[in-house]
């Protein structure tokens, strides 16, 4: 039997280590790097939402950037116009974005996959224009400046660290919700809908309601990420929410691995750091290098980084099993396990 099924103690130990590592980061990283990591966390939240839609329910939505913007602007507007404390705006942003998600989902989800992708992409492309058009509300091209939440007196670190912990908390919340959804009954329903819609429906799964619920949760995640993004930056403008935002989130999700929770984080790291590294290597060719990375990643790792890792582990485990079985029976039958290669 392969050793992929690790005993529970290992999992617990691993999780504890991970949490400790996350908690200790502010002490280890420079202010700017910490800021970038917080940025990664906000993107990861949007990415988790997309994972939920794409990886687990099989629906391609390219409007995550639009929901991200919705969350960000809701938070910013509530804070600048109505003076609401930034942290209190977050639940409202999440909820409002989820509502917007449902509103878009109602007509959009009736469309087949390709058409859904294109319509949602169109929506993402419109967002900056819409923000400009509603300039009275949104501050138009000049953007909105937000109050940055001051860390409470009992907090031992500086502002950067406080913001980081906020983002980490938000991301952690999303991960918990996602884990609960993905395991158990809801997860099975989602996967059934993804793998075979006809059969799932004939078994009584309410297609529309489930899909809408997933859409709402997914956009909620993006809304929370967007709100935190606004708080983190202290300033937002239409420029921050071009269609490329949605593309970045999609790219991150696929590169990390569309049906994995950790994939969302890995992908967000890629999307935040690689373009910068690429332009450091060569300012003129930065974009070219980024594009080559995208293509290279897809050619090498179709299921994303996490998928590649899983395959790698499986290969190692299978090799180890073969080794062990060879040691036990010294005269193996050559026909067993012989793979037919073209």
């Amino acid at each position: 039997m392969s050793n992929l099924l690790q005993p529970k103690s290992h999992v617990i130990l691993g999780t504890v280590f991970l949490i400790a590592a996350f908690a200790a980061l502010p002490a280890l990283l420079s202010s700017f790097l910490l800021f970038q990591v917080s940025l990664v966390l906000t993107y990861a939240m949007a990415g988790l939402g997309l994972n939920l839609l794409l990886g687990f329910s099989g629906q391609v939505c390219l409007a995550q950037g639009a929901f991200f913007a919705c969350g960000a602007y809701t938070t910013a507007i509530l804070n600048t116009r109505y003076g609401i404390d930034p942290l209190l705006t977050l639940p409202i942003s999440t909820f409002v974005t989820a509502l917007v998600g449902v509103a878009i989902g109602l007509p959009a989800l009736r469309l087949p996959g390709l058409q859904l992708a294109i319509v949602t992409f169109g929506i993402a492309a419109i967002v900056p224009q819409l923000i400009l058009k509603l300039g009275d509300f949104t501050g138009g091209v000049t953007g909105l400046n937000m109050d940055v939440p001051v860390p409470p007196t009992w907090f031992f670190g500086d502002q950067e660290a406080w913001l980081y912990y906020l983002c980490a908390a938000g991301a952690g919340l999303c991960v918990l919700v996602m884990r609960r959804l993905v395991r158990g009954d809801t997860g099975r329903t989602l996967r059934a809908l993804r793998d075979n819609t006809l059969i799932a429906q004939s078994m009584g799964i309410d297609l529309t309601r489930t899909r809408l619920a997933v859409f709402a949760i997914s956009s909620g995640f993006a809304g929370l990420g967007g709100g935190l993004y606004a708080i983190l930056n202290g300033f937002i403008s239409p420029q921050s929410f071009l269609a490329s935002k949605s593309i970045d989130i999609l790219v991150g999700t696929i590169i990390g691995g569309a049906s994995s929770i950790s994939g969302a984080f890995i992908g967000a790291v890629f999307v935040v750091f690689v373009p910068d590294w690429a332009s450091e290597i060569s300012p003129a060719l930065g974009a070219l290098i980024y594009g080559l990375c995208l293509i290279g990643m897809m050619l090498l790792a179709r299921e994303g980084v996490v998928g590649l890792a899983i395959k790698g582990v499986r290969h190692l485990a299978a090799a180890r099993d073969l080794q062990q079985s060879k040691q036990r029976s010294p005269a193996p039958n050559a026909a067993i396990g012989e793979e037919i290669r073209p």
Binding site: A335, G337, E338, E339, I340, R341, P342
Partner: protein
């Protein structure tokens, strides 16, 4: 004409054929029988080149090993898969023309089109209909005609009777027999329906679990008690 020696094939790490040997004489009908999972379809796929295989397969002396599917079709292997390989959104006539897509001479294509419309008048009636709207039996006729448009050396049919009503099946096998008698078309027919197949075949093989367990002339096998028990419901 077709000689198969120690054919090994499978899907990934799942090995299905464990090294089978058989041959098909020119102008004869050979039946390949066996129950579900015996490896009959895998055999045809390996011969057609749609799945990788090992072993020696020669068609009139030409070694087929490593050749891709389209090349084998050009050499004269016509494979009608389970499900008939119909181009559902294309018209009957387009289906037939696709069968002859590798034929260079337009005159030959036109001549063959007429010939097969003669042999299958129902196809001519429906020549402009989308092939997906034809009944199962008609699609099977279309599949045979389409395969014959390329003037193949050997026609390989995978379970032609699948999903057809008994009366249609009789008509189908009668057609196959007629084709063989009038045109000398060599055939390799894979079937679960042993009875009808053995009645039109000259030679037959029985497969079980990826190996050939019985071979002989069709009349011999019809009389064999084990075959009668397992496949003829006797």
């Amino acid at each position: 004409m077709l000689a198969v020696h120690h054919l090994v094939a499978g899907y990934g790490s799942l090995q299905v054929l464990r090294g089978i040997d058989f041959s098909v004489e020119e102008g004869s009908i050979v039946a390949l029988l066996g129950s579900n999972g015996a490896g009959k379809t895998t055999t045809l796929r390996a011969l057609a080149g749609t799945i990788p295989s090992k072993g020696r397969v020669t068609l009139n002396g030409t070694d087929l090993l490593g050749l891709p599917a389209y090349h084998r079709t050009e050499l004269g292997i016509a494979h009608i898969p389970q499900g008939r390989g119909t181009f559902v959104d294309f018209t009957v006539e387009e289906n037939l023309l696709l069968g002859a897509i590798t034929v260079r001479s337009r005159a030959q294509v036109a001549m063959d089109l007429d010939r097969w419309y003669e042999a299958f008048p129902r196809l001519r009636e429906r020549r402009r209909q989308p092939a997906g709207t034809l009944s199962g039996g008609e699609q099977q006729m279309l599949a045979i005609a389409r395969a014959l448009m390329s003037r193949p050396r050997i026609l390989m049919c995978d379970e032609p009777s699948l999903g057809l009503a008994p009366a249609i099946i009789h008509e189908l096998f009668a057609t196959l027999e007629r084709l063989n008698e009038e045109h000398g078309t060599t055939m390799l027919i894979v079937e679960q329906n042993a009875d009808l197949t053995l009645r039109i075949a000259h030679k037959a093989y029985v497969m079980e679990a990826g190996e050939i367990t019985l071979e002989g002339s069709a009349t011999e096998l019809l009389a064999t008690p084990s075959v009668q028990r397992s496949y003829l419901g006797a």
